[in-house]
């Protein structure tokens, strides 16, 4: 007799499973989670804190906030940031001090850990939300974050 009850119970569990997938099939149109990616680029918005790429924001006078203190270079675990600095004459006070020449950022080595952004004392670098970083030549992934001809904003060192 347990032969027949085994068969009956087995078929009951199979039909329960089929009902679950059948339910999804019937509501397939509104349940589907596919995003038609290349077509929806305008409406696709990442979260504010999403870690896409490290950038240095410049305001409308082409000024940034990086003083060349090298805190980010020390904080980075694998050397993705290189600061090239120079001692130059500061136009305001007339003394020689450390100023930034180039802030080199190797996107190919960056692990997106966020330690550089936490370490920066002047909030010069922030996260950007762009995720389309693929290029054809690896050399394009080595970026210079400060734009040519930009200067430091006044009063940032305090």
């Amino acid at each position: 007799m347990s032969y027949f009850s085994d068969i009956y119970n087995g078929i009951k569990t199979l039909i329960t499973g089929m009902k679950v997938t059948g339910g999804y099939f019937i509501h397939a149109r509104k349940g589907s989670l596919t995003q038609q990616y290349p077509d929806n680029r305008e409406t696709l918005k990442m979260f504010d804190r999403f870690r896409g790429e490290v950038v240095m924001p410049h305001d409308k006078n082409n000024q940034h906030r990086c003083t060349g203190c090298q805190s980010c270079e020390i904080a980075c675990p694998n050397g993705s940031i290189e600061i090239i600095w120079d001692r130059q004459v500061d136009p305001e006070t007339g003394k020689k001090k450390k100023m930034i020449d180039k802030h080199v950022y190797h996107l190919s080595m960056c692990t997106m850990c966020g330690l550089c952004i936490e370490a920066c004392p002047t909030d010069a670098i922030v996260w950007a939300q762009n995720y389309e970083n693929s290029v054809y030549y690896r050399s394009y992934l080595t970026k210079t974050l400060n734009q040519p001809g930009s200067t430091v904003q006044a009063g940032v060192e305090d």
């Binding site: 068969i7 199979l14 499973g17 089929m18 679950v20 997938t21 059948g22 999804y24 099939f25 397939a28 349940g31 589907s32 989670l33 596919t34």
Partner: protein
């Protein structure tokens, strides 16, 4: 809407038949007709195979909360044409230690057996290529030839994984043919004939066979669906090509067009099992409650295809819901559960017919 006033040629096959006989001598005409029918079936095979693949991908996607292919053509209709072009243009790779003759011969076994198989079905009253009086018996006999192709393909590939897969498939197919045959036999008791067109005729007058035979017919249908799914090596019985276990089973070493042959043959086998179920249990090309009977060939083909697609959907539903059975559990299912139930069902049907308790 009066169908009779529309200018639809009512008897297509006899029209073409007479026309060809009138323009050629006798033997040339019969050969031409045979070639035409073969070409028509090859075209049906290719189109049906390709669009069943697309249907499977779309249905699978809808079960899995996503859309299927929808980029190539509207609703992805040209997707399988793109896939077919890709498969045709692929390089036919193989080892240098394969058994060349058997390796090249194996796909043709499965193709030929499925092509012979779809030639006996009645798509409508006039569209049947091969109406012999032992139709069902012929069909089961021919579908057994396909298993030779799988075994030969696995052996000739000189690959351990392929060999394991092919051996598993061989024993699975041989075991489940018994159940398929016995459940078909149960319904043949009701109809009294093995000829497929006569089986549909019996259902036209008496109602669909699954209703005529009530309890034993329903049990026979359930057993037929389970055994039929196992015959075609589909999930939950697809340990042959268990992708998660041993690479790709018996067709690991095949690529390009030869792989396409195995792949298409699996889908056409599914079509054959579904067609047998429709003809035997659900009335073939008859419409439900006889609403459009007698009107040319178009509604009849339509009803046949709709019923076949419903059964194919049921088989796809099985595939995407259940996990896979292990080899020894598969054999236990067949020899300890399906076969005794089948024999008991056969005797039950015989008793019901003898006591005149059919509907």
């Amino acid at each position: 809407m009066n169908f009779l006033t529309m200018n639809i040629p009512l008897n297509i096959t006899s029209t073409i038949h007479d026309w060809i006989y009138s323009i050629m001598p006798e033997t040339a005409a019969s050969i031409t007709i045979m070639v035409l029918i073969a070409v028509a079936y090859l075209a049906l095979f290719a189109v049906a195979g390709l669009y069943l693949v697309l249907l499977e991908r779309k249905v699978a996607a809808w079960f899995q909360l996503r859309l299927g292919p929808n980029r190539v053509g509207p609703w992805g209709l040209f997707q399988t044409i793109a896939d077919a072009l890709k498969l045709v243009s692929k390089e036919l790779t193989s080892n240098d230690r394969i058994d060349k003759f058997l390796y090249n011969l194996a796909p043709y076994f499965v193709i030929v057996s499925t092509l012979i198989g779809i030639s006996v079905f009645p798509f409508s009253k006039q569209f049947q290529a091969f109406d012999i009086n032992i139709g069902l018996f012929f069909l089961i006999a021919v579908s057994s030839i396909g298993v030779i192709g799988i075994l030969v393909g696995g052996w000739a590939s000189n690959n351990k994984f392929a060999l394991i897969g092919a051996m598993r498939s061989g024993l699975q197919t041989i075991s489940y043919e018994l159940s398929v045959g016995l459940s078909i036999l149960t319904m043949v008791l009701l109809t009294g004939t093995l000829q497929l067109s006569q089986i549909v005729e019996v259902q036209r007058t008496g109602g669909w066979l699954i209703l005529q035979g009530h309890i034993p017919a329903i049990i026979a249908f359930c057993i037929f669906m389970i055994a039929g799914t196992a015959e075609t090596n589909r999930a939950p019985f697809d340990l042959v090509e268990a992708e998660s276990e041993l690479g790709a089973g018996f067709h690991t070493e095949y690529s390009g067009m030869k792989f396409a042959y195995f792949f298409l043959a699996e889908f056409i086998n599914m079509f054959i099992i579904a067609s047998i179920a429709v003809v035997l249990f659900f009335g073939g090309w008859l419409s439900p409650f006889g609403i459009t009977d007698g009107i040319t060939w178009f509604p009849e083909v339509f009803w046949f295809l709709i019923k076949v697609l419903v059964i194919i959907f049921l088989m796809m539903w099985f595939r995407w819901t259940f996990p896979r059975l292990r080899v020894d559990q598969l054999l236990t299912l067949e020899w300890k559960y399906l076969l005794p139930l089948n024999l008991a069902n056969l005797m039950l049907m015989a008793v019901i017919i003898w006591m005149n308790w059919t509907i």
